[in-house]
Symmetry: C2
Subunit: 660 residues, 2 copies
């Protein structure tokens, strides 16, 4: 195992967490690259902490063994803990790797007796999408919606070439359970398109590093590639030349990268090319690529994010929220087995609060993945603390068919979980050091969608803030929990209220602009006037979106009386004096939450300040600096939102606080 590149934060794998393994006698049995990776990990820990090398017939404290007959599936493992020895067995080297990191997570506790347990990932595919550009995009930069410096993979048109850093990244991913990764932006520009063909060598180099930790490499491709790269006059998915071109392109990729994962495709979406240009369906489009990939075991991740981004704001009948369902549900059953339909968790676009997309669970004959956004595009851009695990957990535990039905976590079992990466070449990986938890949590939730986010937070704190010898002090634990556990709720309080969404600055999406998207072509409106606010998406009087849900949820969302407060303005247009279930009026709720949200940021900032001396000084300083900005920005949100609604409604704050 190579060491961590200089100056790079170890995140949740500081050497100290390897001590319990490193001090012990450990034996690894198994063949193959991933078994070698485990062996190298063990050796690294031993060298670092002075354990004894172990030969095959020596006694040992920890045995990690691939055993063909283990009933652990392709990535699972069994952990047995007796007073004499802890044993991890797995049917595959991949399982052994996950078992090893499980032991690391447990720390000393891994070496206490306990009943045997088998762990298998609930989702087969646990993927990150990097929206990294090869060329620096004029507007979006090196990483689209990236808030952590440049790309780990690309710099100004070229491969960045820092393979040790990529390897270190893969190691962090394996340690939280991620097993797949796409290396370029879903918006595929000219240079990026060529990754598929003449630049496949760049991809192979990355795949080598990622594969060493069980992470399969995917590529985002342009649906127009046969035209852009192949010189054909069409990309029609039913054209024989097009099929042939893709088949040959894919064969060429697999010749270089035998464990290549497949493609991610954004088609007919926000200007990207797609099958609509040829009057073909998205099933035709996805199947074209699926057929080329199938002989090699590859998969197409086909995004369902298809909507009209040139909508007329005057047109109140069109509802962007409906688009994915309207486009894709009729296609259920038409997709190949190696197509995964990749669906954003909400019907809009990664807002701080959305209902779960009605598409999830509505295509029983289609493999579906849920797409989350780890990069904090709409949730503070890694300048604000916003720990997203509670939101994601809500999504994954949601039951699309209502009580008694399966959770989203189960529905996407054969499709997987995909998250837009929040990682860049920043020394802390994620810009804001505390945003590392979002990366960690999504891997862990993809492994176990029922995991308690609060427990994951504790797990992450123990790993990340492990001091040399001993546990993190209780004061630090409490402090970290206090600034992080409720941070999503806090963020929601000071931003767009009651599920209405957007109200962000157009383009970069940072900071408030209540009307920023109100008269835009993007389909993202709140319809506030002097009397009320919100979007009527009921069947009875609105856009009918509520009717896309299975009955229990359709019923719940249909009326103001049953709609949960936090989604009220997503589903209904109500007067400012409408009384919520909470007992407050909408307008008073807006005022109260905005004052409260800022107060909570002030408290969190103070709490963090008090932790000085308990965390590494550089980490402490960076978070201090980010809190300054978070507080400034939160105040701006509070004042703009409150002023906007005060000016519009004329209803004074019941508590007489200052509104401008």
């Amino acid at each position: 195992m190579r060491g961590l590149p200089d100056g790079v934060d170890p995140a949740w794998l500081p050497d100290e967490v390897l001590r319990p393994v490193g001090e012990r006698r450990v034996l690894v049995c198994g063949e193959g690259a991933l078994a070698d990776t485990v062996r190298a990990e063990v050796a690294h820990a031993r060298v670092r902490f002075g354990g004894t090398p172990v030969r095959d017939d020596d006694p040992c404290d920890l045995l990690l063994a691939v055993t063909a007959d283990a009933d652990t599936g392709p990535e699972g493992f069994t952990l047995e803990r007796t007073p004499e020895r802890t044993t991890v067995t797995a049917a595959t080297p991949a399982g052994l790797l996950y078992g090893y990191f499980h032991v690391v997570r447990l720390g000393e506790a891994a070496f206490t007796a306990a009943p045997p347990q088998t762990h298998r990932p609930a989702l087969a595919s646990r993927m990150l999408n990097h929206w990294d550009n090869v060329d620096v995009h004029l507007v979006m930069g090196q990483v689209e919606r990236g808030y952590a410096g440049g790309s780990l993979f690309w710099r100004e048109g070229r491969a960045r070439g820092d393979l040790p850093r990529v390897r270190a990244y893969a190691r962090l991913l394996a340690a939280c359970g991620v097993n797949a990764l796409s290396v370029n932006n879903v918006n595929v520009h000219a240079s990026e398109a060529r990754l598929l063909t003449d630049r496949i060598g760049d991809i192979a180099a990355l795949a080598g590093e990622l594969g060493a930790y069980g992470v399969r490499t995917y590529l985002s491709v342009s649906f127009a590639a046969p035209v852009l790269l192949g010189g054909l006059d069409t990309a029609d998915p039913l054209d024989a030349r097009v099929k042939d071109w893709w088949r040959r392109a894919v064969d060429h990729v697999y010749a270089r990268i035998p464990d290549f994962g497949g493609f991610v495709v954004k088609a007919d979406s926000e200007g990207q090319p797609g099958p609509f240009a040829y009057d073909r369906s998205h099933a035709d489009g996805a199947n074209l690529l699926a057929d080329a990939l199938a002989p090699h075991g590859g998969t197409v991740h086909w995004r369902a994010f298809v909507y009209d981004h040139r909508q007329d704001w005057r047109d109140r009948a069109t509802d962007r929220a409906r688009a994915a369902y309207d486009h894709f549900v009729p296609l259920d059953g038409q997709f190949r087995d190696n197509v995964v339909l990749q669906v954003k968790h909400g019907p809009m676009d990664f807002q701080v609060r959305e209902p779960v997309s009605p598409v999830i669970g509505a295509l029983p004959a289609t493999r579906t993945a849920v797409e989350l956004q780890a990069t904090q595009e709409y949730t503070g851009q890694q300048r604000h603390v916003c720990a997203l695990a509670p939101m994601w957990s809500q999504v994954l535990r949601h039951r699309p068919q209502g009580e008694g039905g399966p959770t989203v976590g189960r529905v996407v079992g054969d499709g997987g979980l995909v998250a837009v990466s929040n990682v860049g070449d920043d020394p802390y990986w994620t810009g804001h050091p505390l945003a590392q938890f979002n990366l960690y949590a999504l891997g862990r939730l993809a492994w176990d969608p029922d995991a308690d986010p609060d427990r994951l937070l504790g797990e992450w704190i123990e790993l990340t803030f492990t001091p040399a010898r001993g546990d993190a002090p209780e004061r630090l634990r409490t402090g970290l929990r206090s600034v992080m556990a409720g941070s999503w709720a806090t963020y929601e309080k000071y931003t767009a209220p009651l599920g209405v969404g957007f109200m962000v600055q157009p383009g970069h999406h940072y900071g408030p602009s209540v009307d920023g998207y109100e008269y835009s072509p993007w389909g993202t409106y709140h319809f506030a006037d002097r009397d009320g606010v919100g979007v009527d998406r009921s069947r009875a009087t609105g856009t009918g979106f509520a009717g896309q849900y299975a009955k229990p949820w359709a019923r719940t969302y249909e009326t103001k009386d049953t709609c949960p407060d936090e989604l009220l303005l997503f589903f209904h247009h109500v007067p400012y004096e409408h009384v919520l279930h909470s007992g407050k009026t909408v307008i008073q709720h807006i005022y109260d939450t905005h004052f409260d949200g800022v107060a909570e940021v002030e408290a969190a900032r103070a709490e963090w300040a008090s932790l000085t001396g308990l965390v590494r000084p550089d980490v402490h300083a960076r978070v201090v600096e980010r809190y300054e900005e978070q507080l400034r920005c939160a105040r701006e949100w509070r004042d703009q939102i409150n002023s906007y609604f005060w000016r519009k409604s004329g209803v004074p704050d019941a508590r007489g606080r200052r509104i401008h």
Copy 2:
């Protein structure tokens, strides 16, 4: 004279306008470069139209002569027209050049008998400021606020090198009266700063071409140049090393460019460095450069555009409109004679409607120039027809001291008129072919601020649309007048109402965004709430800005009763139901003007369409295309403004038209 570069529109100097001169016998008497220019012009016309070469003692139809004893000032000329001969006499070759173009403008009429007339420019300095960047700026591009392609001077970090085009440009400028030009953006970035020193050769090359037509070259410089370029640790204007550095830098410039005009400086403004950093006044700053330039006869144009661009929107006491007056009026009398204080015509920033800046006329002991904006940043970005001469004429005829006092045109006599250029490397020079008139008109108004804008429009039409042989047909004249004469009024109707300003998309400033600047740090607010709209700038209850005017205007603007309708919301916050002098309520005025404005664009578009066949097909086609965009955008303005105020006020349109 060199010919016009291929594919470049001749603007108001198509060869055909040279026919009356070119067919006649013309004699030019005088020495010096500008006399040679006249001689070359005459030769070009003669060659083109078959006139007879004339020697010194031949009889001639037109005599152009420099005569030392002519009482015409540095740029004037006398025109005498007898049945036998037309004579232009001037004390200087520059005067002769302007006299020549005057003859060209008159056309055949120049050769009919008339009483002698002497013409002198009312303003000594008639300058264009090019906001051209040397490097392509990440946000602002090659030309900041440029809507006519790239720069004539610079391309991607280098001199563009198309000197024939620069010469052709200088010729157009001389033909409308412009005699000075700054070649780089007032926002001076790194490469641009170096124009002053190691890149002075690039400037010299341009100055050679511009000087051939009497246009003096100016440079925008960074106040921090002694630090940026000179390696000093200060740019303090009172520091001896700084003074010395500037003196040497200026000496170096004049060694290369003997007729160099001087500097344009944007200091302590929107992030540019300035004397405030050293606790020095703007008089200290300007005088520093003035002292360096004085020995060579150079001038400093020091911009008065100094305000707090990081204002807090919550703070209603601070008023950006006050800033220039507050900063500069106390300095009156402290500036050197070769400092010109360059003041934007309005107190804000080139909006479609502003009052005249109270700074103009308030510094009797300071040379003051008025700055206009030919580039249509806020007036349709050369995609909309917006002939600005009527607005500029209003400004120039405004009398700061009230009835009986001098006009702005007189007040700036020794300071001049400066306009931000609307020209780029576009084949039509100005993107929109009809925007050429703005360039033409500003030169002509700088020569004669009392000129009737409608007469100038006629003049421009006659020159620009001269068909081969004969006058422009009456149908074309009428059509052009109909689409252009009222276009400023039309633009005002469909954009921000009643002088309130802004309401544009942030950043690029194109298209509507009513709240786009409402919660910004830029000091540009409308304060619309459910009851009313507008900014109270009265002394009695507002920011006191109205009190910066001399008494007659202070009184006029102070109360709603006396404030002109078109400026009401600039000076007052009024209820939507407030009744204007026009008899309409404010809200009904908003609705009516917005519906009317769009109807007027529709009519203009139809009128232009009907002119097909009467103008060059390429010009016709380009204007057709621009009208499509203008109409789309005007409708967007109409609908957003009307919807915004309908949602906020709840007052229905009295005429029941559709508001969204």
